[in-house]
């Protein structure tokens, strides 16, 4: 039982990170129907920005997190403006291929500037650990979970209570109708990229302090897993991405804990195949309505 609870705690920590990344996938998909494969690389760059802020600027955890989120938000908006916006009226496959191109571009540009080697993340948090009935929760995990929850609450507030959030929902439901309300679709799409990328930046810093190591290709696997999480939750659904992220995180740690960690990734992707066969709309996804 203790081991199970321990794995669940570890899974929630990891899952919170997946959830933060999955939110960006799902929001961008919701608004422009693009699987933004460059999203995992924004997360990687977020991890490097946090690394630089802590190592060179000697900043603490929260300032580093904030800087990473702001710079990633800008990066996300720039990517959308340069790479995706000119293709707004092209086929979806053209934009998807562009996204893969942007992903490779970010990975190898980073490799050029920071080198391919793995760097170890500086330790900014105390080594304090919490013992609860045999379950060990360390400081990193507490920070990850608290940060993720705070950001998700903030997101819910933005999406449901602010004008920008309502505009985002309107554009994602029906772009033409939204424009007839006077909503500027382009700037709403930019906001969506900004928020999604800021969340990826936060996830990058969190994973850096959790696993202590970063490298320019670190975004690929978590990016794909967050994509699985978004599909699991129902792509386009914000609560779905949160639940999907936690689900995939817990599943992964349980497979590692009770089975074999070698099979962890295979399991996640097997799961993706199963979802796509059994329930392609995911947990909270809607049936796709074809417009007549």
């Amino acid at each position: 039982m203790e081991q199970f609870l321990q794995q669940v705690v570890n899974g929630i920590s990891l899952g919170s990170i997946y959830a933060l990344i999955a939110l960006g996938y799902t929001m961008v998909y919701g608004i422009i129907k693009l699987i933004n494969f460059a999203h995992g690389d924004v997360y990687m760059i977020g991890a490097y920005i946090g690394f630089a802020a802590i190592t060179y600027a000697k900043l603490g955890f929260f300032p580093a997190l904030l800087i990473s989120m702001i710079l990633c938000a800008i990066l996300g908006v720039v990517i959308e403006r340069i790479a995706y916006k000119p293709l707004r009226n092209s086929t979806r496959i053209a934009v998807l291929i562009t996204a893969i191109g942007v992903s490779l571009f970010l990975e190898y540009v980073m490799m050029f500037f920071v080198g391919a080697e793995v760097r170890s993340y500086p330790n900014v948090l105390s080594n304090y650990t919490l013992h609860l009935h045999g379950v060990v929760i360390n400081m990193q995990q507490i920070y990850i979970i608290v940060t993720a929850i705070a950001l998700m609450v903030l997101l819910q507030f933005i999406v449901h209570k602010t004008k920008t959030g309502k505009a985002m929902r309107a554009v994602s439901i029906d772009q033409d109708a939204a424009q007839l309300m006077g909503i500027n679709a382009d700037s709403t799409i930019s906001y969506t990229f900004a928020i999604g990328s800021a969340f990826a930046g936060a996830a990058g810093v969190l994973v850096g302090i959790y696993y202590n190591s970063i490298d320019p290709l670190m975004g690929i696997m978590p990016g794909l897993k967050a994509f699985v999480a978004a599909v699991f939750g129902g792509i386009g659904s914000i609560p779905g991405a949160m639940i999907g992220g936690l689900g995939i995180g817990i599943m992964e740690t349980l497979v590692s804990g009770y089975g074999n960690s070698m099979y962890r990734d295979a399991f996640v992707f097997l799961f993706l195949i199963l979802i796509l066969i059994l329930k392609p709309t995911g947990l909270m996804g809607k049936n796709i309505r074809e417009k007549v």
């Binding site: 439901i173 029906d174 424009q179």
Partner: protein, 235 residues
């Protein structure tokens, strides 16, 4: 107030609007009738800025608006209730109405207008917390029109407000349109239900395969033999 001069619109190679010219004066109800595919919806979409004109001009109070964005046109007072209603089904009735007033900053007046909508359509008040997708077709149409009115438009574009509604509701919707016009909003109405549209319109245009083929007062057109034959089912 609204003037369209020699408007041409293409969908790829399809020439959807051919030299369409029309005017709508302040205080009028003008209707645009025609068969399916004649270009009625395209005309309204182009006025709202959702479709781009290849050539021609759209003037609002004499000022060209042909090249400004759709949201800016809303700001200038052109609001549209689109074909098929296009409400936001996953959002609540209240949220839909609030989105109608998206560009407005006058919070107190927005509140008053919301009250006015609820007074006109008590059913929307009863269902304000419900998601709009759960409303019936007629209620959704009322919501779509109310949402367009929340922008406080000077000119309201209505695209097929009677589509898919029971005859009794159709009459109700047309009465509402008249009411809105009496309250001071200019209306450009696109309809397939020609007889109803002509009965409330001050003036009308007939659109056939992208061109205006006839125009006149609502009464004149309702009596015209060609219109009788083509659109009103007369002999």
């Amino acid at each position: 107030m609204l003037e369209i001069k020699k408007l041409n619109v293409y969908y790829g190679v399809i020439h959807a609007l051919k030299d369409v010219s029309l005017t709508v004066d302040e205080g009028e109800i003008v209707t645009l009738i025609g068969a399916n595919g004649a270009g009625k919806t395209t005309t309204l979409r182009t006025i709202s800025g959702l479709n781009k004109a290849t050539s021609g001009e759209i003037l609002l109070d004499g000022e060209p608006i042909t090249h400004i964005s759709a949201p800016q046109r809303v700001k200038l007072g052109i609001s549209q209730s689109p074909e098929g209603r296009r409400i936001f089904p996953e959002m609540t009735v209240l949220e839909n109405l609030e989105l109608g007033a998206f560009l407005r900053k006058d919070k107190n007046n927005i509140k008053k207008d919301l009250e006015a909508v609820y007074e006109r359509f008590p059913i929307l008040s009863d269902r304000k917390k419900q998601t709009a997708g759960t409303l019936s077709g007629g209620e959704q149409q009322m919501l779509a029109i109310s949402r367009a009115l929340m922008a406080k438009p000077r000119i309201l574009l209505l695209d097929e407000p009677s589509m898919g509604l029971a005859p009794l509701l159709v009459r109700e919707i047309f009465d509402i349109i008249k009411d809105i016009n009496n309250a001071g909003t200019t209306i450009l109405l696109v309809e397939q239900n020609a007889s109803m549209a002509l009965s409330i319109a001050h003036r009308a245009y007939v659109l056939e395969t992208g061109s205006i083929v006839m125009s006149g007062t609502g009464e004149e057109l309702a009596k015209s033999n060609e219109i009788q034959k083509a659109y009103l089912g007369g002999e």
